[in-house]
């Protein structure tokens, strides 16, 4: 089966199980509400009884932004700490939710109840958590070794550049390489998760080794499939941006409309996350079928 066909099948599967994306979106929204709470109350205190609030509705009020930064500069570390803490908690929450998503995708029934979803979240959590711990050094190796190596090698070209274009291209290649490297690592650990669910295995290290062998034999096919699913996300993002830029935002009802459009995009992001897992699951199933038939 070609990659396009796999992606198409995965899209059908993820749309059949669209509740997964809605659940992920709801969790993301509620979690962010709580994380943003202190900043919201600060902004409300600073703006809601002031004409700044009215001006901020019309446009980006640079004056207000300056006032706000000046007034709350001293608590910026606390706010940054809050966001970092929220990000760490959300990371753990995602480890928990991944089990539910892959478990639901792996279930034959079209609809998965909330109870089943959370059952799978709990069932796979410790396995995924151990895998997450295992993935940290791998990410660090990529970030601390491969990325600097790449930077050094590309830096030689950049340093020798005598005009702006080569330097700009090299700098963009550097960023592109970083993204591609991260996709390789992220994809690999996705397949380990799929393996842990589809095989029902509890042995994380063994499954990691088996996945390494599985991916190693068909790396480029798997990676191109991953990038193809990534393109769906990129296309969705551009579609969101194109609509967002033409939406007026200077009336209370339009603010609501923009908010809804933003949330629609977040929902699509969640769906694209499900799509990644579904694509990978379809890919694994395809080879399982081939193995059985031979």
């Amino acid at each position: 089966m070609g990659n396009f066909k796999i992606v198409f099948k995965a899209m059908v599967l993820s749309l059949q199980k669209r509740r997964l994306a809605v659940r992920l979106w709801a969790v993301n929204l509620i979690f962010t509400f709580f994380a943003l709470g202190p900043i919201f109350f600060l902004m409300m205190k600073h703006m809601s009884h002031s004409f700044s609030g009215e001006r901020a509705l019309q446009r980006l009020d640079i004056f207000w932004l300056g006032d706000f930064v000046y007034r709350y500069m001293n608590i910026a570390p606390a706010l940054t700490g809050l966001i970092v803490l929220a990000a760490i908690l959300y990371l753990l929450l995602s480890v928990f939710l991944n089990g539910g998503v892959i478990g639901a995708l792996n279930r034959p029934e079209a609809k998965t109840s909330l109870a089943d979803f959370f059952h799978d979240c709990g069932l796979y959590f410790w396995r995924f958590f151990r895998l997450f711990l295992l993935s940290i050094p791998v990410y660090l190796i990529f970030l601390a070794i491969f990325f600097p190596l790449l930077r050094v090698s590309l830096g030689i070209i950049s340093r020798r550049a005598t005009t702006e274009w080569p330097a700009l291209i090299v700098s963009n290649l550097h960023m592109l390489a970083l993204v591609l490297l991260l996709t390789v690592v992220a994809m690999f650990f996705d397949y380990v998760k799929i393996g842990l669910v589809t095989c029902g295995s509890n042995r994380v290290l063994k499954e990691t080794w088996l996945t390494l062998k599985f991916i190693g034999r068909r790396f480029f096919k798997a990676w191109s499939l991953y990038l193809l699913a990534g393109l769906v996300f990129v296309a969705l993002t551009f579609f969101y941006l194109e609509i967002a830029r033409i939406l007026p935002k200077n009336r209370p009802l339009l603010v609501l409309l923009v908010f809804l459009w933003q949330q629609a995009y977040i929902l699509c992001r969640q769906w694209s996350k499900v799509l990644f897992f579904a694509t990978e699951l379809e890919f694994v199933r395809q080879y399982e079928k081939t193995a059985k038939s031979t």
């Binding site: 700044s52 004056f63 966001i83 005009t163 977040i266």
Partner: protein, 693 residues
């Protein structure tokens, strides 16, 4: 009559020449660039006339490039203090082989007297520091008497640094500024004003006549201060020698790069400025029409091939600058101006010299953003503020940077309006998606300027600021915001007259802050010393706030009241009954205002407070702002809807404009719009982070 006419024409022709010849300082410099060794070899003759009433025993020079000689120079020490990593202002770290220096190999009088042995390094800003070599003194054989002219001859060689502080080289591109032994400024009764080169300092020099012969490899394209008057090629050595001349400038910079594209166009005043514009400006300035007429100017652009598509943008910005600086502050007095798009990584972008300046752009500029326009207008503007009105940039940097930041904002607002925030991603501007986020220079300056108030006063010696950030925010943005506040205070037209008068009065001179303040007071007809004391010479914060607003209905009073020979009691029930029957309730309203900062308005200046009511009526009160707080009470048939102090935003220096107003009814739409946006960004951030799960 005819003879008289001929005589007058003769005078008109001869007098300007006579005035030019009268420059008390004259330089002739021969310099050759050796690209292989990155060296300059130079010979300099200086003719310097003592126009003071002092007998001068010595002669002081700046040797600016010695600041780049090693890590013990004053500039490097200050840089390493600010940023121990060794990078500063985005400049390249000095790497092995990248150091720069200048040596005076020989100095003597024109009669042959050798003064080389009389040279010594001086450190006027740091007595006792023996490591800085950016100031040199030469003791003269005998004091130079008033009216006498000293003729000096110097041989020097200089190593061009890998670009630092906007001078130096990268690959084949050179920008050569502050490169020759340059005399300090002699101030009668005070001696030499010749500061060491500091991290944050710029320059100060006397007006002079320059004649400079620059020899470079034949393939190089050269741009320079002044007008090219001769060019000679040496086919044997494969070099070209360019001669540039200019009167009445105090700085001389040049650039050379084989890749420059050189384009010349004319600023034709008649095509740029309409008669109606001339009449309007002349009327506002109360000057004769002829006094505001602009001359034609030759515009020379040296641009990198990669930026060829931006030629029109560069010229348009230069035309706008020539037009509005010329109309508002005075006609541009030189025949030509050279705009340089500096060589790649030469780090020399955004820098002013007289009759030549550098801008800077990218290969992918945003069409909606005012860049590179802002930098072109700003650096050209320094031709007025630093160039013609040659203030001491070491001691009072705000006089050029602050005034020019203010002037740039005015020109950009007039010629271009608000610009989009470019938000580049991987060098690609995303204005397609951020185009609606626009800002004016005034807004940006005010936002940045308020952050710096507690660190240093605006008027401060450049090396005495807390750090480079405080220097930049205070002398550029805060000073610019104060200037905009001054304009709001005295009115746009009066401000324009202040600026024109100041410029006219101190053109080709060295004004100080006191001169500017005196001009403001004189032209505006007001004593505004308090304004400068509070906002320029102190670190006092200006912040007034509407602290609370409330209205409550005046109810019937309960209790015992003396009646006709008896005491009547108004009970709670009776009072309620009376209130119920009252169809026209009366409200007592109270607005409380607080002064949260230490800065206060001066005598005769009152802060306006506007109070608005539900029935659409408004009440205006005034407060002298001296106390910690005040309150305004009133009674009327309507409740307050809002109160606002300084509703006209006169005091842009107010560090929190949001608390200048208080609306009784909360307006959540603005808060929701931006918290909604923030929510969205954080949702995306969290989603991105979850990729690692």
């Amino acid at each position: 009559m005819k003879k008289l006419l001929i005589f007058l024409v003769f005078l008109a022709l001869v007098l300007p020449i006579a005035a030019q010849v009268a420059d008390p300082i004259q330089y002739e410099i021969w310099v050759s660039l050796d690209p292989a060794q990155k060296m300059l070899q130079g010979r300099e003759t200086i003719s310097w006339t003592n126009t003071s009433r002092d007998a001068i025993p010595d002669f002081w020079f700046h040797l600016y490039w010695n600041a780049f000689k090693n890590e013990k120079s004053t500039l490097m020490t200050e840089a390493l203090r600010d940023e121990p990593s060794g990078t500063f202002h985005g400049d390249t770290v000095v790497k092995d082989g990248g150091w720069g220096w200048i040596d005076v190999e020989k100095i003597g009088l024109a009669d042959g007297t050798d003064l080389t042995a009389a040279m010594e390094f001086m450190t006027p800003d740091e007595p006792g520091n023996r490591d800085d070599q950016t100031v040199m003194r030469v003791t003269l054989p005998k004091p130079l008497l008033p009216g006498e002219t000293l003729k000096l001859e110097l041989n020097f060689k200089a190593k061009v640094p890998r670009t630092i502080r906007r001078s130096g080289y990268y690959h084949n591109g050179y920008f050569i500024g502050q490169w020759f032994p340059k005399p300090g400024v002699y101030q009668e009764g005070k001696g030499w004003n010749c500061h060491q080169y500091h991290l944050n300092s710029e320059f100060f020099a006397d007006f002079a006549r320059f004649k400079v012969h620059i020899t470079v490899p034949a393939a190089y394209v050269v741009g320079s201060a002044g007008k090219e008057t001769a060019r000679r090629s040496d086919s044997g050595r494969k070099t070209s020698t360019y001669t540039y001349e200019q009167d009445r400038i105090h700085d001389f910079a040049w650039t050379a790069d084989p890749d420059y594209i050189k384009i010349e166009r004319d600023f034709v005043a008649a095509a740029e400025v309409s008669p109606a514009e001339y009449r309007e400006v002349a009327g506002t300035l109360r000057l004769p029409l002829e006094a505001v007429k602009l001359p034609d100017v030759k515009m020379i652009l040296l641009i990198n091939p990669e930026h060829r598509s931006q030629v029109d943008r560069h010229f348009k910005a230069l035309r706008m600058a020539l037009k509005y600086y010329g109309l508002w502050y005075g006609p541009y007095p030189y025949a030509q101006v050279t705009l340089v798009d500096p060589p790649f990584r030469s780090g020399s972008g955004g820098m002013e010299y007289q009759t030549i300046f550098t801008a800077g752009t990218q290969v992918l500029p945003s069409p909606q953003a005012n860049h590179p326009e802002t930098v072109i207008v700003h650096e050209f503007g320094h031709g007025y503020w630093y160039g013609l009105s040659a203030s001491n940039e070491f001691e009072e940097a705000w006089l050029d940077e602050g005034i020019n930041t203010y002037s740039t904002g005015k020109v950009i607002a007039k010629a271009y309006g608000a610009g989009a925030i470019p938000l580049p991603l991987f060098g690609i501007p995303l204005t397609r998606y951020s185009g609606s986020l626009k800002y004016t220079d005034l807004e940006l300056d005010r936002v940045a300027g308020i952050q710096a108030v507690r660190y240093d006063p605006v008027v401060n010696a450049s090396w005495k600021f807390y750090d480079s950030m405080s220097y930049a925010l205070n002398v550029y943005m805060r000073a610019g915001t104060c200037m905009n506040t001054l304009e709001n205070l005295i009115g746009k037209e009066a401000m324009l007259r202040v600026m024109r008068t100041f410029h006219d009065r101190f053109r080709f001179k060295h004004p100080a802050s006191a001169d500017f303040i005196a001009t403001v007071n004189e032209v505006s007809g007001r004593d505004l010393n308090w304004f400068f004391d509070e906002l320029f010479f102190s670190t006092r914060e200006w912040d007034y706030a509407v602290d609370s607003v409330n209205s409550h209905e005046i109810k019937t009073s309960r209790g015992i009241f003396d009646g006709k020979g008896k005491k009547d009691e108004v009970t709670t029930r009776a009072a309620r009954e009376l209130d119920r029957k009252n169809k026209k309730p009366v409200y007592r309203s109270l607005v409380r205002i607080r002064r949260l900062g230490d800065a206060r308005p001066g005598p005769g200046v009152l802060l306006k407070i506007i109070t608005a009511f539900e029935d659409g009526s408004q009440k205006i009160n005034y407060w002298d702002g001296q106390g910690s707080w005040t309150e305004f009470a009133c009674t009327g048939p309507s409740k307050i809807t809002y109160a606002q102090i300084d509703p006209d935003h006169v005091f842009l220096v107010d560090s929190d404009l949001s608390n200048n107003s208080y609306t009784v009814k909360a307006n959540m739409a603005g808060t929701l719009r931006w918290t909604g946006k923030l929510l969205f960004w954080i949702q995306n951030l969290l989603q991105f982070v979850s990729t690692l799960s």
